[in-house]
Symmetry: C2
Subunit: 319 residues, 2 copies
């Protein structure tokens, strides 16, 4: 029988929400301000009001809702629903978010890390549909990860599993936003690639990229770089090689450690398409054990911008 | 009621076996030659004969045996009991070892990777007793690993999970036995440390180590190095710093990725004791995220030489 599920994607600035059929079809999406400065209890109260509005507007009875899945931007124990903390958000330290929202709404609530649940969404409806051992990687401002083993999302001892972006790939390498050095995301995230591009542009401007950004360093982004590479621009193609090289080092480590069936790559960098994936598959041969490389395929993510709330809903549907 | 369990540790040269009470007490251990050149079927036949002898000599009825756990030196899917392959052993490619040995013995059989199951043994009776999220690391000839998450041993898609020794820690670094470069085990295994010691001894012999090995490079091993370090030998203490530095890089990566409660370190290097562990705990602060470092403790393994067969038996008892 048809049931419904609510997905909530809590960000530092906005809360995105959606009501979905349990087959994954999205009925309608919503967005409200997080107003994180008012504290965690206030955020949950406004989520409760939003959920009531969503059910009302879509003529869904509460009895037909399987539950609410919520992704939050911090480490969280998915089994207990207790949030460890959320950076830049007030009052989320050791906060039993699932239990509190269950009391407010009368619905079953599961809470997961926002980046981890993206992988769960890809496992439910996206590129990893039907797979049991999945590694999800998001190459954006940083590098986030989600690990599904034997069909279960791994959240670790206090919800911090999947922090793959801070794996060290270069000894005492580039400074990372976390304050440490040589982290994977300092190289292979979209930001890492853009940073390298700007660094090179300071000494060499013989490239389409320079024309497109019209001399404005702040306009250099992953899309501009990949667009130029697709047109055969040498400078941009060298940057693709840079991205592939460091992406391969970290990804090989993860494949050696976890032996996944499928790796789903999302985020800005993944939009490069074949020009990236073809080179990446070749590069992985250098650093990955054959037995594990033979077992895995590397694919782009499918869910795009709805990944966060679909993944949150997947906490209920797959959990 | 008291039951029994059989643990079998299949190596390339010898098969070690033990019959244990289900509380972990070892009644008696056995050892036979593997004679791997005769093929997998022959090995299983001789294991069957050995098991019958063990039950007979210890007056144990087959009806009181919970099952046989077997560790083998290659990737294996613990859920299906199918071995992927065993290097240097004939006929183990895609070999359904558990099913075959069950038919031969009439007993339940579970098969795991020999290095993975050591961690399971530590979880059953050793240093990780009572923990659900465990990372086991063996620093010996190479670096092996075992990963337990939510109480379950992770074997991966085709049994190769936990191949942590081939994580790349230095870009295009030292050549590894696997043929690739910069692998963790090329630096932080006992062999890696000995290799660095010998390299340094070629240009500097102002150390106790040189006296102890009496000018014979082949006598340089982890124990000799740590013994000299404990006596305050500067050259040896520098080698401990080398070991700690590279051990920390790889271990930090694993802690960031998996967020374990406990890391159990075994093998020759772990015998160094406090001189290693104190420095390691300090070094980890440089490369590990605080949230995950706060959640974990690093301890030496407890089971020693019996780890292989105890861990194999744990496949049955904890499985």
């Amino acid at each position: 029988m048809l049931k419904y599920v609510v997905g909530i994607d809590v960000g530092g600035t906005n809360i995105k929400a959606g009501i979905l059929k349990n087959n994954g079809e999205i009925l309608k999406t919503y967005s409200i301000k997080t107003e994180a400065f008012n504290g965690a209890e206030d955020v949950l109260n406004r989520i409760k009001n939003l959920v009531e509005k969503m059910l009302d507007e879509n003529n869904v009875y509460k009895a037909d809702v399987l539950g609410i899945g919520m992704g939050i931007p911090g480490p969280v124990n998915t089994d207990t629903g207790v949030v460890n903390f959320c950076a830049n958000m007030v009052g989320w330290e050791n906060f039993p978010a699932a239990e509190k929202l269950e009391k407010l709404t009368g619905l079953k609530v599961k809470v997961g890390n926002d980046v981890n649940v993206i992988t769960l969404g890809e496992d439910w409806l996206g590129a990893a549909k039907g797979y049991k051992n999945v590694l999800g990687i998001t190459l954006g401002t940083g590098i986030g990860g989600g690990i599904i083993l034997n069909g279960h999302l791994i959240s670790g001892t206090n919800g911090a599993a999947g922090e793959i972006g801070h794996m060290k790939v270069i000894e005492d390498g580039k400074l990372c936003g976390c304050g440490q050095k040589g982290c994977w995301e300092a190289y292979a995230s979209a930001t890492g690639l853009e940073r390298e591009a700007v660094s090179r542009l300071r000494v060499n401007r013989d490239t389409l990229i320079w024309e497109v950004v019209n001399g404005n360093f702040s306009k250099v982004n992953a899309k501009v770089i990949f667009d130029a590479a697709k047109k055969g621009d040498k400078f941009a193609l060298d940057l693709v090689d840079y991205e592939v090289k460091y992406l391969s080092i970290g990804l090989s480590n993860l494949i050696n450690i976890l032996n996944p069936e499928i790796v789903v790559i999302g985020g800005g960098v993944s939009l490069a398409g074949d020009i990236l994936f073809n080179k990446l598959n070749k590069a992985l041969e250098k650093d990955t054990l054959k037995v594990s490389l033979d077992a895995v395929k590397i694919v782009p993510a499918k869910l795009g911008n709805s990944a966060g709330l679909v993944g949150a809903a997947a906490l209920i549907v797959l959990g």
